[in-house]
């Protein structure tokens, strides 16, 4: 029943995103209008895919470091991806494909740094224990460092244009087109599949690393794969829509409150819920103050925080 409700909300959100917009499209021309086909539809689809990817990333990272605060932002991945993207813009790397690659390079760079910081008790290939607390601290530090370099690049840039890169970094779907949807469809399925396939080992990991090891999970390999997949998803999301915080943080919690802790259900529902949150937020961003537009990250927080607070209250009271 809950699944039917979720699917209906998802469909309704996409439909609303298609029907609502600052331009009025006559009902008769709706199916032929380039405003619908070239602007609204790719935008809704991209927002949904990015929202879903961020939701799943949040689930994976929270399970991996066994900390409810973990999200791509906190682990430094968003910061690294943002730095990579700004470097790509500064170097005038062309096209919609170069930006995700540069962002991915940045995210992987940040990831490797954070990973090495989090690895204690072993050197290099000898393998050590990945300490979730150190991993989080390292993530915050590396994220702050990447953000500082990004800010330095943007503020020192000769071209006034690069300063506007800051606007882009705050997040938004203005550049959505079928090309960007295609980029997402190429980048996202593999890491999503990796995380989905790791659903059972992630459940075991919740019991602790040693019990998980005894129960047959290859913890070391699991961590590496899931961490890499999460980085790839974050990189694609940041490259296509800037840094949109918050979705990866709250969506997993919302889903855990409603659907429980099993990753087999948590992963698909987080994808659907993250998509709903971001697609709805983007539709509001486009229409609420028309003809002007709001940055989508602001709307995500404005509708996400009350929802989160409500669920949190119910959850802690009961």
């Amino acid at each position: 029943m809950k699944y039917v409700a979720l699917l209906s909300v998802a469909l309704a959100t996409v439909a609303a995103g298609l029907l609502l917009g600052p331009a009025s499209v006559p009902a008769g021309e709706f199916l032929r209008s380039p405003i619908v086909w070239q602007l609204r539809l790719p935008r809704v689809v991209l927002a949904y895919l990015v929202g879903g990817a961020l939701g799943v990333t949040g689930v994976a990272l929270q399970a991996l470091v066994r900390n409810p605060l973990a999200d791509p932002f906190l682990l430094g991945l968003s910061g690294g991806a943002g730095l990579g993207a700004v470097v790509a813009i500064a170097l005038h790397l062309p096209g919609p494909w170069a930006l995700p690659l540069a962002a991915f390079a940045g995210a992987v760079g940040a990831m490797v740094l954070v990973y090495r910081l989090g690895l204690i008790g072993g050197t290099g290939g000898a393998g050590g224990e990945l300490d979730p607390r150190i991993l989080l601290l390292g993530g915050v530090a590396v994220g702050a460092f990447a953000a500082a370099i990004t800010t330095a690049l943007v503020s020192l840039a000769e071209a006034a244009e690069l300063r506007n890169a800051f606007l882009w970094l705050w997040g938004g779907f203005s550049a959505a087109s079928w090309t960007t949807v295609l980029v997402m469809l190429v980048y996202a399925p593999l890491p999503l599949a990796v995380i989905a396939a790791a659903a059972r080992p992630l459940d075991l990991l919740a019991l602790g690393e040693e019990p998980a090891q005894y129960l047959g999970a290859d913890v070391r390999r699991l961590k590496q794969l899931v961490y890499l997949a999460a980085s790839l998803l974050t990189a694609a999301a940041v490259a296509l829509s800037g840094v949109i915080g918050f979705v990866g943080l709250i969506v997993p919690h919302v889903c855990r409150m409603v659907w429980g802790r099993l990753h087999r259900t948590l992963i698909p529902t987080s994808f659907l819920t993250g998509g709903i949150l971001l697609a709805a937020a983007d539709t509001l961003a486009r229409t609420a103050v028309a003809p002007r537009e709001l940055p989508v990250g602001i709307v995500t927080a404005l509708i996400g925080v009350p929802l989160f607070a409500f669920l949190l209250r119910r959850w802690t009271v009961s």
Partner: protein, 298 residues
């Protein structure tokens, strides 16, 4: 924004009254010069400024236009007109300025643009004993007022006043009947456009083009591509120093906008169009020529 302009006028009026009463006409050097700037501060100079640091390209242009260019000892990295300005020492950014770099030039007057970002700089320079004049320069109407104040401070009253009269008449000119519509696009992702509270909106009106976002009161705003497509401007105006089309011209999501699809771009050099300047009449003429020259395309 309109309220803003009013306030500027009021400040200007007060400044004129205050200075006229305080020092009389043709103040002798010994009597000193007193003006009130747009921040409501009173500036007193013992004698006309001879070592000036100008912290906005528009101020630099005004000073050169009134024949006080040889008194400049510092300018921002962005002051690129007239060509003679390039030989003046570069002190970096104007907003906010590098106080040490400005002070190192040993100025007896610093001309600062009025903005919240610059308020601490004004206070710091004052503490160093360097006179600072803080002026508005957002609209066409601000030019004449700024020219008058700078004219008093440099004792170039006559040429400054005649410059100001030209600026005022340009600003007071009734807008030409609009034959075209356009949108100014400042940035493409997210799309930032120019609204009514701006110099460019007024410039377009004088050249006979209607800004399709004239209903947005602020100087600039973020909008969606869909809104631009729905407003369907005849031209897309972009501040650009190169002759090649901006990169978003080829992107599929932008081609929903008719003017982008038909390649009807106006590439306006930032040096002439990017700021209110004494060359406003030339900017209007050039924009009008471009509108009409390319108006015949489908």
């Amino acid at each position: 924004m309109r309220r803003w302009a009013h306030r500027t006028h009021l400040a200007g009026l007060l400044a004129c009254i205050a200075t006229a009463c305080g020092t009389g006409h043709r103040a002798p050097p010994s009597g000193g010069i007193t003006v009130t700037d747009d921040a409501g501060r009173t500036i007193t100079l013992a004698r006309p400024a001879r070592r000036i640091v100008s912290l906005l390209p528009s101020f630099t242009e005004l000073l050169f236009a009134m024949g006080a260019g040889d008194r400049l000892v510092g300018r921002t990295a962005w002051c690129d007109y007239p060509p003679a300005a390039l030989s003046v020492s570069n002190v970096g950014d104007g907003m906010p300025p590098n106080i040490e770099a400005v002070a190192a030039r040993g100025p007896d007057l610093v001309v600062l643009y009025r903005s919240a970002q610059n308020a601490p700089a004004a206070a710091q320079l004052e503490r160093l004993g360097i006179p600072v004049v803080v002026l508005d320069l957002n609209q066409l109407t601000d030019l004449g007022h700024a020219a008058r104040i700078l004219g008093r401070l440099t004792d170039r009253k006559q040429s400054a006043d005649s410059l100001a009269r030209v600026m005022d008449s340009a600003a007071a000119q009734p807008p030409a009947p609009s034959t075209h519509s356009l949108v100014f696009i400042v940035w493409d992702n997210p799309p930032i456009i120019i609204g009514a509270g701006s110099y460019l909106d007024r410039l377009a009106a004088l050249a006979g083009a209607r800004n399709v976002f004239h209903d947005i009161g602020s100087p600039s705003a973020q909008v969606s591509i869909e809104t631009i497509a729905a407003r369907d401007p005849d031209f897309v105006a972009v501040l650009s120093d190169s002759a090649t089309l901006p990169s978003f011209a080829a992107r599929p999501e932008w081609r929903v906008v008719r003017a982008v699809r038909h390649g009807r771009f106006l590439l306006l050099p930032g040096r002439l169009f990017g700021r209110p300047s004494p060359r406003v009449a030339r900017a209007v003429r050039e924009l009008r020529n471009r509108l009409n020259g390319e108006g015949g395309a489908p």
